[in-house]
């Protein structure tokens, strides 16, 4: 998985609770991404980062926030989890955003009850 770890790998939580997912890379890549994967929708971009403290929204950013205080870590936070955020979340990294391949982590399966 290209030196990418995600934690936790599985989580069950209740509606209304905050949740933070962590992506950690050992490749020193500049770009990091958070996607969610749902049946029938493929992978959809939530947020991405193009450097420490530099982030931007993706296609489905509502209800999510991110932070990147170090090159190696990219955090995804659900401020108040809802059942519609039940999904599998993937982190990805790339060296150069516009000209390089993205490599994906193993995923986090989140269930919001």
């Amino acid at each position: 998985d290209a030196g990418i770890t995600q934690s936790p790998r599985h989580k069950v939580t209740e509606t209304g609770t905050p949740v933070t997912l962590r992506c950690h890379q050992t490749e020193n890549h500049r770009y990091m991404y958070w996607y969610r994967q749902d049946p029938g929708h493929g992978l959809r971009l939530i947020h991405y980062s193009y450097g420490v403290k530099d982030t931007d929204k993706g296609e489905v950013s509502d209800g999510y926030s991110v932070s990147r205080s170090k090159t190696e870590d990219f955090l995804l936070t659900l401020e108040s989890a809802t059942s519609s955020q039940t999904s599998v979340y993937f982190c990805a990294i790339s060296r150069q955003g516009a000209t390089d391949t993205q490599y994906f982590g193993p995923g986090t399966r989140l269930t919001v009850l």
Partner: protein, 114 residues
């Protein structure tokens, strides 16, 4: 918005046969295309990519063909093996902006029959 789609959601092939997975894209400005393989319970794994200045690119047992005229790309897998059973995604993007935002198709499930 722009979207990338797949012609068939499932594909079954006999072991040893060649597989062809098709993909259509709608954004004429897309200039980079990637195929990913995803096995059950794992993250997508890069297979092969192609830029818009090419029509064909070959890897180990895989070939990607790009037809910009009809906005279509395909992934060909030679001598399909049981380990090739997975979901295959195509994705496209435009090389602009501060980060590449890939648009993924919904995937094709490839099943290799013994």
């Amino acid at each position: 918005g722009e979207s990338v789609g797949l012609h068939l959601p499932t594909l079954s092939v006999q072991e040893g046969d060649n597989s062809i997975i098709n993909c259509a894209y709608s954004n004429s400005a897309s200039d980079y295309f990637i195929w990913y393989k995803q096995e059950s319970g794992k993250g997508p794994q890069f297979i092969i990519d192609i830029r818009s200045n090419m029509d064909k690119r070959q890897g180990q047992r895989v070939t990607v063909l790009l037809n910009k005229t009809v906005k279509h790309l395909s992934l060909q897998i030679a001598a399909t093996q049981p380990g090739d059973s997975a979901v295959y995604f195509c994705a496209d993007t435009v090389s602009s902006g501060s980060a590449r935002q890939l648009t993924f198709g919904s995937g094709t499930q490839l099943t290799v029959l013994p």
